[in-house]
């Protein structure tokens, strides 16, 4: 019994061309494998097209002694089916491989380690990263092998966070939050670029991501010169107080005009229309900007919208999150 020689074939289709950047996340290897597969399939078909073209032109060129074509059939259903179904099968293979990888790239990792969650704010023409201990910085700090979640927001126009070594990219869209999930696998410093055109200095809207080799190194960085005033939770507490939110939304679970913010984070709440919603970044943002959109059951729809700055919104989100998940 002989086995088909699949291994050399697999090695061939997984052989990445040598011009790719380093692979620095859990997503990169999967992306590169699919890239390699499409690359070699494409290279084969391009070579085939060019070879047939050249061969036919050389052999069948009109010249003295060969002024007339040789009669051949002008259609052949079997050939048509051949060049319909072979490309179709290859395209199916690409689609199947890539969709699996894509869901892995865009979903939280099923991991026991708690994710490192960083709030990212894009604005013309710089990035700002708020790390979980409250330290904000113009560069992104992550820990090797620690699952990471980035929550992206923009204060003005659309930006797009792109790290070529991560093989990942995500638009930061004003008016909503978007997310990225990945695990850095390579310690080092990599460029953070903006990939969505945003005006004059789009090409200079660059930052760095520093992937620390271990948590201790990250913690050491995070302790340097932390200014308590810079923490998102602090921002949120200040805004909450200044805006008088506590008049209706208690901090201790007491029922007032509106729901208390204590211990609601991450919970499903019932709405007046009978549906439910999970209290997350998007719901909190919507409830501040458009309070009437989804009102919690049992409460009147009386809250005025508050047009908050992006950072203040993030602060409120962080503040509510800091109030815990258990009522």
């Amino acid at each position: 019994m002989t086995r088909p020689p699949l291994e050399p074939l697999q090695a061939l289709i997984a052989a990445t061309p040598g011009f790719m950047p380093a692979r620095a996340t859990s997503a990169a290897a999967g992306v590169d494998q699919i890239f390699a597969f499409i690359f070699w399939v494409s290279a084969f078909f391009l070579a085939l097209i060019v070879a047939i073209t050249v061969l036919f032109v050389v052999r069948y060129r009109r010249r003295p002694g060969r002024m007339e074509p040789e009669p051949t059939a002008d259609h052949d259903t079997r050939l048509e089916l051949l060049w319909t179904f072979i490309p179709l099968a290859l395209v199916f293979a690409m689609f199947a491989m890539s969709t699996r990888a894509y869901f892995r790239m865009t979903s939280p990792e099923a991991s026991t380690a708690s994710p490192l969650k960083v709030s990212v704010t894009g604005k013309r023409w710089s990035w700002w990263f708020d790390h979980p201990n409250g330290k904000g910085a113009p560069e992104l700090h992550l820990v090797k092998d620690r699952p990471t979640e980035l929550v992206l927001a923009s204060t003005d126009v659309i930006h797009s966070l792109y790290v070529p070594e991560f093989r990942l990219k995500q638009d930061a869209v004003p008016g909503r939050f978007t997310r990225m999930f990945f695990t850095p696998t390579l310690a080092g410093t990599f460029p953070v670029l903006c990939a969505e055109y945003c005006g004059t200095d789009h090409s200079r809207m660059a930052a760095q991501v520093v992937v620390h080799a271990d948590q201790a190194s990250f913690d050491a960085w995070a302790r340097q010169g932390v200014d308590a005033g810079a923490s998102l939770v602090e921002v949120g507490r200040r805004v909450f107080t200044q805006r008088g939110c506590a008049a209706c939304h208690s901090l201790d679970g007491t029922r007032r005009v509106g729901p208390s913010v204590k211990g609601i984070w991450g919970h499903e709440v019932n709405l007046v229309d009978g549906s439910t919603v999970k209290v997350d970044e998007d719901y909190v943002r919507e409830s501040i900007l458009k309070p009437g959109a989804r009102v919690v059951a049992g409460f009147p729809n009386v809250m005025p919208p508050a047009a908050l700055e992006e950072r203040d919104l993030q602060g409120i989100v962080a503040y509510i999150q800091s109030m815990g998940e258990t009522p």
Partner: protein, 551 residues
């Protein structure tokens, strides 16, 4: 020689001589004159867009730019894209070549609605004037994609409103052309010409017409809503008024992706004509080529979301868009292999149109195959909005479409002008253009994979070599195009008189005089089989090819 050529012209004066003066052109209902006006207008736009491109490329010679400021660079790439797409690639083949050829290939005297045809031309001109006004008003720096919030901020000034109005007018011009072609192909086929006797160029334009009619109104709606959002703050696209910028992207690509097929389908039609005529063989797999045009038109409506894989749209939507996008590869592959099979055992003539078509195979091959990387989700995420995308769509839209446009222009030039261009100049232009094109855009694939985002006025120094190769290539490409233009222009003065059928083609336009009389045919023709070359015999260079038994 002149007296002899006059005899070839036949009894009726050619459409070029019928009527003199500017009025006889600007107010003409003759599809041939309208086509020539379109051609001149479109070539002027190509020159404008090309100059923008060369300034962009020069600015990218050094990583820090320096030739122009970032703001000027951003305006230049916006106008380069907008002019090339709206004023050249979309109208180019249908409006200039299609207008000339469609009635002739059908054996008709004109299109179904000649007045609408003229209106379409004037709407096009009006749109172009608004683009020039945008330029005069200081230009716009939004990118041709016009994404809000950036594009609709107050600080973009008056230019954006002028540009939106221009796009609106150009959209209607395109719709009217589509309506006209569809009606003409339905109603004005020569007696005896069934649907499967249509030259494949007409099938391609028919499929194009469907897209123009169904998708282009959405463009009009989108730019109209954008205009209203900017002026009245309706809260559609701008988050600050409660709108959603991603909604605009859906609207925009619902038109602008099918628009890619408005560009490429007519190009494929030209390739089908040229490859058959210059292989001296009937096109292989006629019905598969015809139906794959329709398939591309239909599937093309359902793939727009592949421009938005990283915009935050739902993952499941992305998966479906990815699948449908990849399906477009199938009709494209069918066409390509049928073209190649047409050459099998043919008698291949390496005239200029055929050389352009041979380079088209390679260019379209690269353009189509690199589309697989972008339709596939996992690989699109890193490649999206990088130079890989720039290179990919230039291969399809510039490489393939412009190459086919030049093939078609050289192919029908004797019919349009009554003159033969110089083959040596023509074939030189084809090869120089091909080399310049590859040198310009192949390095950009590598830059994109290595992580250079598009629309960057400045770049990291690791990309210097890529950019310099591109810049050198762009100038070679430009010189190739100038050679082509020179060859065609000089033929107007010194070219040999063209016979009715210089190529030995079998479709009906080659039975009319070169150039045709006002009403195209001396007597209304009957339908023929457009790829049946039996009986065509080359008489002499002066008399061209004649069908035995005819006359």
């Amino acid at each position: 020689m002149t007296s002899h050529a006059a005899a070839v012209d036949g009894p009726a004066p050619s459409y070029l001589r019928h009527g003199r003066g500017l009025r006889s052109w600007l107010l003409t209902f003759d599809h041939k004159r309208i086509a020539i006006m379109y051609l001149c207008a479109i070539l002027a736009c190509v020159l404008l867009g090309g100059v923008f491109a060369l300034v962009l490329r020069l600015n990218l010679w050094n990583p820090s730019g320096g030739l122009v400021s970032n703001d000027v660079y951003n305006k230049l790439f916006t106008l380069h894209g907008a002019v090339m797409i709206f004023l050249f690639v979309i109208p180019g083949i249908p409006a200039a070549l299609g207008n000339f050829v469609v009635p002739l290939q059908l054996g008709a005297r004109d299109v179904a609605f000649p007045r609408v045809n003229l209106l379409s031309f004037w709407l096009f001109s009006g749109g172009a004037v608004f683009f020039v006004a945008t330029l005069v008003a200081g230009g716009i720096d939004t990118g041709w994609t016009l994404y809000p919030p950036y594009s609709l901020e107050e600080s973009r000034g008056l230019g954006i409103l002028l540009a939106l109005t221009g796009v609106f007018l150009l959209g209607f011009s395109s719709i009217l052309t589509g309506v006209n072609f569809i009606a003409t192909i339905h109603r004005m086929r020569a007696p005896g010409m069934g649907w499967f006797d249509l030259p494949l160029f007409l099938w391609a334009l028919y499929a194009t017409g469907i897209i123009q009619i169904v998708a282009t109104p959405v463009l009009g709606i989108t730019v109209g809503l954008g205009f209203l959002e900017r002026v009245f703050h309706l809260g559609l696209f701008m988050p600050e008024y409660g709108g959603d910028p991603v909604l605009f992207q859906h609207f925009f690509w619902f038109y602008s992706h099918p628009a890619v097929y408005i560009m490429i389908l007519p190009a494929m039609g030209i390739v089908s004509e040229v490859v058959s005529v210059f292989s001296r063989k009937p096109i292989f797999g006629y019905r598969f080529i015809a139906m794959s045009s329709i398939a591309i038109a239909v599937i093309g409506f359902l793939v727009w979301g592949h421009h938005m894989f990283v915009s935050g749209q739902s993952a499941w939507a992305s998966v479906i868009f990815s699948f449908l996008t990849l399906l477009v590869a199938i009709p494209s592959a069918i066409k390509t292999f049928n073209w190649l099979a047409t050459m099998y055992k043919g008698a291949i003539v390496l005239a200029t149109p055929m050389i352009y078509v041979l380079t088209f195979f390679a260019i379209f091959g690269v353009g189509g195959l690199t589309g697989l990387f972008l339709g596939t989700l996992a690989t699109d995420v890193p490649l999206h909005d990088t130079y890989f995308v720039v290179a990919h769509f230039h291969f399809v839209m510039v490489g393939a479409v412009m190459t086919a446009f030049l093939a078609g222009l050289h192919y029908w030039w004797p019919k349009m002008t009554g003159r033969l261009y110089d083959e040596r100049i023509g074939s030189t232009s084809a090869w120089v253009t091909f080399v310049g094109f590859c040198l310009t855009f192949i390095p950009q694939f590598f830059a994109g994979v290595a992580g250079l985002p598009r629309r960057y006025a400045t770049y990291a120094s690791q990309f210097t070599v890529h950019n310099r190769l591109s810049t050198v290539g762009a100038f070679i490409l430009a010189s190739g195009l100038l050679v082509a233009l020179y060859g065609l222009a000089s033929s107007l003065r010194s070219g040999r008189r063209a016979p009715a059928n210089p190529w030995g083609a079998a479709s009906l336009e080659w039975t009319a005089a070169s150039p045709p009389g006002l009403h195209n045919f001396d007597e209304d023709p009957r339908g023929v089989r457009p790829y049946d070359f039996t009986g065509l015999r080359h008489v002499s260079d002066e008399a061209g090819w004649v069908r035995e038994g005819a006359r």
